[in-house]
């Protein structure tokens, strides 16, 4: 099976990148092809990068509280580009009820503090294998 391509992105003005970098390194160590955007990205910059890099997964890391504005916008922009097949997942400081609302809006699973990176790896692999089967 080909490697899974992941864009790890930091939307908004939030500068906390410890989690994003740890996750990016863990996904790379698990054999995925990982691109990291760097900080302070607009949803437009993230969607453009996801399409141009032809990724399977976008992982958003957000700790600033702006998740209810920025995450739906990434979803909408990918949809506008005809790329709502890309899995949008992520994590950060996001209260449970907001996670539920975002998942209902179309994101994949969102993860909170203390999640082992192995859980993210398993989740992305399982999603990818299911999608590959569907496409085959």
């Amino acid at each position: 099976m080909r490697p899974i391509r992941v864009l790890v992105a930091k939307p908004g003005l939030d500068g906390h990148d410890r989690g994003a970098k740890v996750v990016a390194a863990a996904l790379r160590d698990a054999g995925m092809e990982v691109i990291y955007t760097g900080l302070h990205q607009t949803p437009e910059m993230i969607a453009t990068a996801a399409v141009q890099e032809d990724v399977d997964v976008v992982g958003l890391s957000i700790l600033s509280g702006a998740h209810m504005t920025l995450i739906p916008r990434v979803l909408d922009l990918l949809k506008d580009d005809g790329r709502d097949d890309i899995l949008v997942t992520g994590g950060g400081i996001i209260p449970r009820e907001d996670m539920d609302a975002l998942e209902a809006r179309g994101t994949g699973r969102l993860f909170g503090p203390g999640t082992p990176t192995s859980e993210l790896v398993d989740y992305i692999r399982t999603w990818f294998e299911a999608r590959e089967k569907q496409l085959a």
Binding site: D14, R18, A24, S64, T69, P116
Partner: protein
């Protein structure tokens, strides 16, 4: 050393060797320091310390290992300073009044992300972020509201602001002028530590060199005009939170401090004119004794370098005054009530290490900004420590402990070794440009994550002692979604009522001054007085300075 003393040391060495053989033969677990993974010895004796303790200075004496005050906390307790801010200026003003009414003794402003980055609340990049993790302050008008009814000559105020620090400082000074306060009496701190922004926290605006110019401009200007203000809070906090070990936090932060001193002296300032207003900010992590030793080592290293390397003569230049905050990164979303206990131990370490002021985190901060109830428990934690435990009664009560003295010496040695490495990569600025410093921190953070996942490090409630009902069961603060629209309306009203010709003139004067080598503080202050907005002032200088581009890697 006399013959008798040497014989005594030999006897001790022999005794410890025998004890060590028994220890090594016994069944036991290994122990490691919390972040570095270094092995902790099972017992410490006089063999592990530099001398027999008789060379230990008293509190308030150079090099201040044992504290900066001869009176310890008997003269003055630490300042209980809870970092707070959310929503709009009127909401945060109400929170400050609540905190002051409950016995808090200083204010500490948390700004929202747009403000931290120098964007106005009505800038397109601010959408969705206004008031979310701090208060939105876009002009003098907001600053006036923030401190309405709080006399600025009576409180000390700390402001966590870096990239646009001098702009927010100008708003504060102008707000004090509006209150009719004598601004030479203003007390407080702006964080203003841009080097650690590039290293760890990432709320930058300008490239490194112009950013350092603004900092030195402020050292120079404030020494004359706002002499009691701490012009910088050189911060290890964010470096540690980003993943650094205790030794890295210590060394990278002090190296930043030395860089500021060098830049000030390169401007031609006398070190004793600005060094007394430099302050520090440390993260207090879980490893109790290591944290205490870190604070003791920090004071000693700073005093020695300022005296021996930079030739400071004023005793106030040699003493390191610092704020501490318990480590946000140690809080867990799982079983959040446990965080109260973590914070209490960390707070005690900060006090045993001789902090001048302290913020204790609230139990709910891995999920949202804290509720009033959670903040009250955090503040009460400090009050119990101050008034019930007896801990503040004796200055440096752990001084002379073999373990704490050996650890203090160890951290000092490790920091000195890291200073050599930083010099080898070309100094702090070069180390930031190449990403060397950022990589060191990222490597430490990845190693810690791996250790947690491998169960080499226990986090109660996360990888051990897990309960099914691990999810949050305490109430969370919700920041009103109305904050953004209210703030936009306030901005529109302010823009409509100000003298726009004056605004343009002041911004033009600032832009011109930025092209020269004039001190920019008076120009920024004039912009603030004319109700130029945060982003307008930021942009006027950005026209000349450009913007910072980070080295991206993981």
């Amino acid at each position: 050393m006399t013959t008798a003393e040497m014989l005594e040391l030999d006897r001790l060495r022999e005794e410890v060797a025998q004890w060590r053989a028994r220890f090594d033969a016994a069944k036991k677990r290994n122990a490691y320091f919390a972040n570095s993974g270094d092995v902790v010895d099972p017992v410490y004796t006089a063999l592990d310390t530099a001398g027999d303790g008789s060379d230990l200075e008293l509190p308030g004496e150079y090099p201040f290992t044992r504290g900066i005050h001869s009176t310890g906390y008997r003269g003055k307790l630490w300042t209980m300073r809870q970092f707070a801010g959310f929503g709009t200026a009127p909401e945060t003003n109400a929170r400050y009044k609540y905190l002051l009414a409950h016995g808090q003794t200083g204010l500490s402003v948390a700004f929202d992300f747009p403000t931290l980055m120098g964007y106005d609340s009505d800038h397109p990049r601010s959408e969705g972020e206004v008031g979310k993790c701090g208060v939105a302050i876009s002009s003098l008008a907001d600053m006036e509201t923030l401190f309405e009814g709080i006399p600025l000559d009576k409180v000390s105020t700390s402001m966590t602001i870096n990239g646009p620090a001098v702009i927010l400082f100008a708003f504060y000074i102008a707000a004090a002028e509006k209150q009719g306060v004598d601004t030479t009496q203003l007390r407080g701190t702006i964080q203003n530590d841009i080097l650690k922004e590039y290293m760890a926290q990432h709320a930058w605006v300008y490239p490194i060199e112009p950013a350092l110019r603004l900092i030195v401009d402020n050292f120079e200007w404030s020494a004359e005009h706002i002499p009691l203000w701490n012009t910088i809070s050189i911060s290890g906090y964010h470096i540690r939170e980003a993943g650094a070990t205790a030794a890295q936090e210590l060394a990278f932060t002090l190296a930043d401090g030395f860089t500021y001193v060098e830049r000030g002296m390169a401007r031609g300032l006398d070190v004793d004119d600005f060094a007394p207003r430099l302050s520090f900010f440390w993260d207090i992590h879980n490893d109790f004794f290591e944290e205490i030793a870190k604070l003791r080592a920090a004071r000693r290293i700073w005093a020695r370098h300022l005296k021996e390397r930079f030739g400071a003569k004023d005793p106030r230049s040699l003493i390191m005054r610092f704020h501490s905050q318990t480590a946000g990164v140690t809080l867990t979303a799982q079983q959040p009530m446990n965080n109260v206990v973590r914070v209490a131990y960390q707070a005690m370490a900060a006090v045993l290490g001789g902090t001048q002021s302290l913020h204790t985190n609230s139990m709910d901060e891995t999920l949202a900004l804290p509720t009033e109830q959670a903040v009250q428990v955090a503040l009460r934690t400090q009050q119990v420590l101050a008034y019930e435990t007896g801990v503040p009664n004796v200055a440096d009560p752990l001084g002379g402990s073999y373990y704490v003295e050996a650890l203090t010496d160890k951290l000092e040695r490790e920091a000195e070794a890291l200073f050599v490495q930083i010099a080898e990569v070309g100094g702090v600025v070069r180390g930031l440009e190449t990403g060397w410093l950022q990589r060191k921190i990222a490597e430490s953070s990845s190693r810690q994550q791996w250790e947690i996942e491998q169960h080499r490090r226990t986090i109660v409630g996360v990888n051990e002692f897990v309960t099914e009902e691990g999810e949050l069961t305490i109430p969370l603060l919700k920041v009103s979604e109305a904050a953004e629209s209210e703030q936009r309306a306030r901005m529109a009203a302010m823009r409509a009522s100000r003298d726009s010709a004056l605004v343009e003139r002041r911004l033009g004067e600032l832009r011109n001054a930025a092209r020269s080598d004039s001190n920019l503080m008076p120009f920024i202050l004039d912009c603030a007085r004319a109700y130029c907005t945060l982003y307008e002032i930021r942009a006027a200088m950005e026209d000349v300075f450009g913007a910072y581009r980070e080295p991206v890697f993981f």
